[in-house]
Subunit: 144 residues, 2 copies
DNA sequence: TCCCTATTGCAAATGACTTGCATAAGCATA
DNA sequence: TATGCTTATGCAAGTCATTTGCAATAGGGA
């Protein structure tokens, strides 16, 4: 999708060195619609690199606001490209299938939540995930 | 708070053996308002037990619906007593300070989210956390 | 092109959680 | 209350994602 030149610019505009590893990872991230785990990112990057490099690069991309860490899986992290509107996810408890949920009815709530709190000075963001069962898992369960 | 007798009954009503470890853990969980990590639970239980026992017991309590796992900390799980109304949390990015958020404006959304999805058969629940800065961390930051 | 500094690879360390197996309780029953 | 089957626990070892230390390498401004 996004040509390498774009990723390089994005990186430099974000104040990061446009290293080969970061460019490849950012391209991989843009090329797909779904969140990718560290190992998947390395594979998708199509360029040999150490897993440690993936972790360090994703840390950098995350801090720079280019990638967003998704905590949907309890045992491992995944990231998605951050230049997309704020959204949430619908996740299948059976197979991990994941779908974007565009709607966010929570945004206005942050202020109200802060207003009701005595101990907090500010609320900056939130995470919201919906869990359920996808059609495939539902029919598999029915068949069993 | 809850006397040992209560925890034993709760456990047995949930179809679990009321072992000493589980009773102590459930008591510890009821005695506090905040989610506890595995190591904290063991300490609070006031009774020597292996960490493995904590994990296995919390698994059991969770499946039985007596405890709820909280995923607020990326590096470790914590649990809170489950016999409380559905609620969410406000978490301090600085120190981990945590506060209950009673309000849930999301409940009605589950149906709408399911309605908009083509690949999902059902939505069973959701997780919602608010992140921000507590007053202490805010003034500490100001002082620095 | 040169130099300084940020980044990478490799190897080793962490740390939360799991698993296997033998022993010690629960608790239903007699 | 004693018995016996079944499940829970302790201990030791294993797993696995993620982190850290350090020397070698490669961005990119001058
Ligand atoms: Mn998404
Ligand atoms: Mn709570
Ligand atoms: Zn939102
Ligand atoms: Zn809710």
């Amino acid at each position: 999708m996004a040509p390498a030149r774009d990723s390089s610019s994005l990186l430099r505009e974000a104040g990061l060195r446009a290293t080969a590893a970061r460019v490849a990872l950012l391209n991989a991230l843009c090329a797909t619609h779904k969140p990718l785990k560290a190992a998947e990112l390395r594979r998708s990057a199509g360029r040999g690199m150490d897993l440690v490099t993936v972790y360090r690069a994703m840390d950098a991309l995350e801090k720079a606001g280019l990638a967003k860490r998704i905590g949907v899986d309890r045992t491992s992290a995944s990231w998605e490209f951050a230049h997309r509107a704020h959204h949430h996810h619908l996740v299948c408890r059976g197979c991990g299938e994941l779908e974007d949920v565009g709607e966010c009815a929570v945004e206005g709530l942050e202020k109200r939540v802060l207003g009701k709190s005595k101990r907090f000075a500010s609320v900056s963001d939130h995470s919201l995930e919906f869990f359920g069962t996808c059609r495939d898992c539902a029919s598999a369960a029915r068949a069993a």
